[in-house]
């Protein structure tokens, strides 16, 4: 049905997938491209909290991620990510680096 070369490529791909699945099954963490890109990105993570018209920096990224995670949802506004629940509550404003960082945290991976 397929040529030998096609099947060979498919087999090698399947071996790689099987390897990753095996590593994941035994909780072996390996460096990934996403993390490498993150390391290359020299932009500092930034998190701000907005209450009404006042915006303040929140330097504790752990608190920032938890606060943002607790909101109903996050959406993009210009180049920032805004996490909020309702019109009368706090807003968490994260830059891309901070948002991507939070997405990778164990409290957010569900």
């Amino acid at each position: 049905m397929f040529s030998k070369r096609v099947i060979l490529v498919a087999n090698i791909s399947l071996v790689i997938v099987a390897l990753f699945l095996t590593l994941n099954l035994f909780d072996v963490k390996i460096p990934n491209i996403g993390r490498a890109l993150d390391l290359l990105d020299k932009e500092e993570p930034s998190c701000m909290v907005q209450w009404k018209n006042e915006i303040n920096p929140l330097p504790d990224m752990g608190m920032c991620c938890l606060g943002a995670r607790a909101q109903l949802g996050c959406h993009q506004e210009n180049s920032q990510w805004v996490c909020e629940t309702g019109p009368s509550t706090l807003r968490y404003i994260l830059n891309k680096k901070a948002y991507n960082y939070c997405l990778g945290q164990v409290i957010w991976s569900g």
Binding site: K4, N11, P57, P59, G62, T89, L90, G110
Partner: protein, 364 residues
């Protein structure tokens, strides 16, 4: 002929590999959903005017699990029911029915119910999409604070939430600007006391936070280990509220001054929690333990897990979404108890407090 045979071999390998990948993928999905975590037997409850739990009937796994509050997602509801942690914390949802249906699902058939917890602080409000409350900073009088506490308590009870991580009694909120009551330490205490009485009269546990203070002020340039100097004004609300409030939450700040955490995060400091427990016999609750201020302090998660239990927290918040990690935490702590790093009597004392807070009588 030889070429055809090689092609046939490659095809055989192809199908074998497909099968292997499917099996591995299934195992990964099963593992992620907690399929391999052993089910805990239900905790036995003796019926009576006040239902009774005999502590000696609980296994060590069950006791440690009761001390943990996890993130109560829809996806993990079955595995959490299987593992029976002490509580589930709910983040924001868009409709009231989403809360009630999920809570009903969690509490169904549970002999010992879950603590169902939220952070309802006014300006932080998981119900804000359909129910608004004023921010703590906008509450001006004790009467108003009591009324808001009562209103929130009625609402939380109707939804099925039985533990609220509020009021915030940190002084001078300089970051969020809305989470704490206005005024000096005396005014904050007065308002917080009125609020928590309103809440607790409705049967919802209140939590004063974040001991020993300064959480809403510290702007440490180091993002990961956060330090603060505590003075007696920070501690005033706790000493005044200790007789009334059902829970106190401890922060991950490294503190000096009136409360010295001796260079380690407060929540993992036996010194900080030991001192607190000398004057307070309610529930001592950790802040979420995956925050960097705590997590980055320890070389391994195992050391952090042991530290927060050894320190004496009654309830530990771990919102890690992976049930396997929560199970691993229980096993690490269990080993710590078996090896004598954590006295079992300390675990028993915490579980007794938890079960009493859930409305049970506890027999040793």
């Amino acid at each position: 002929m030889a070429r055809k045979s090689k092609l046939r071999d490659a095809e055989r390998w192809f199908f074998a590999l497909i099968l292997i990948v499917l099996v591995l993928a299934t195992l990964n999905v099963a593992k992620a959903s907690g399929y391999f975590i052993p089910e805990q037997p239900g905790i036995q409850v003796k019926a009576g005017v006040i239902p009774t739990v005999e502590l000696h009937t609980l296994s060590l796994d069950q006791k440690i699990a009761q001390m943990i509050i996890v993130s109560g997602s829809e996806a993990n509801s079955d595995v959490w029911k299987k593992m029976q942690p002490g509580g589930v914390h709910l983040f924001a949802r868009s409709k009231e029915e989403q809360f009630t249906q999920l809570i009903d699902k969690y509490q169904q058939d549970m002999q010992v119910p879950f603590f169902v917890t939220v952070d309802l602080e006014g300006c932080l409000n998981p119900f804000a999409n359909f129910k608004q409350f004023p921010a703590a900073v906008e509450i001006a009088t004790p009467d108003e604070a009591f009324r808001i506490g009562t209103e929130q308590g009625k609402f939380l009870k109707s939804v099925g939430v039985n533990l609220n991580f509020a009021p915030v009694v940190d002084l001078k909120d300089q970051i969020w600007r809305c989470r704490s009551f206005p005024g000096d330490e005396k005014e904050v205490t007065l308002l917080a006391n009125a609020y928590l009485k309103g809440l607790q009269e409705q049967g919802v546990i209140a939590t004063a936070k974040h001991y020993p203070g300064k959480t809403l002020v510290t702007r440490d340039p180091h993002k990961y280990l956060v330090t603060a100097t505590i003075d007696n004004r920070d501690l005033f609300p706790y000493s005044e509220l200790a007789k009334d409030v059902d829970g106190i939450m401890v922060s991950h700040l490294i503190t000096s001054g009136a409360i010295d955490s001796r260079g380690i995060p407060s929540v993992a400091s036996p010194q900080v929690i030991g001192t607190l427990k000398q004057r307070y016999d309610g529930l001592v609750i950790s802040d979420e333990i995956n925050m960097l201020g705590l997590k980055d302090f320890y070389p391994t998660l195992d050391e952090m897990y042991l530290a927060v239990f050894i320190a004496g927290n009654d309830i530990i918040l771990n919102f890690n979404e992976d049930p396997n990690e929560i199970y691993r935490m229980i096993q690490v702590v269990k080993k710590g108890v078996e090896q004598g790093d954590i006295p079992e009597s300390q675990i028993d004392a915490s579980v007794t407090k938890i079960l009493k807070a859930k409305g049970f009588m506890v027999e040793r």
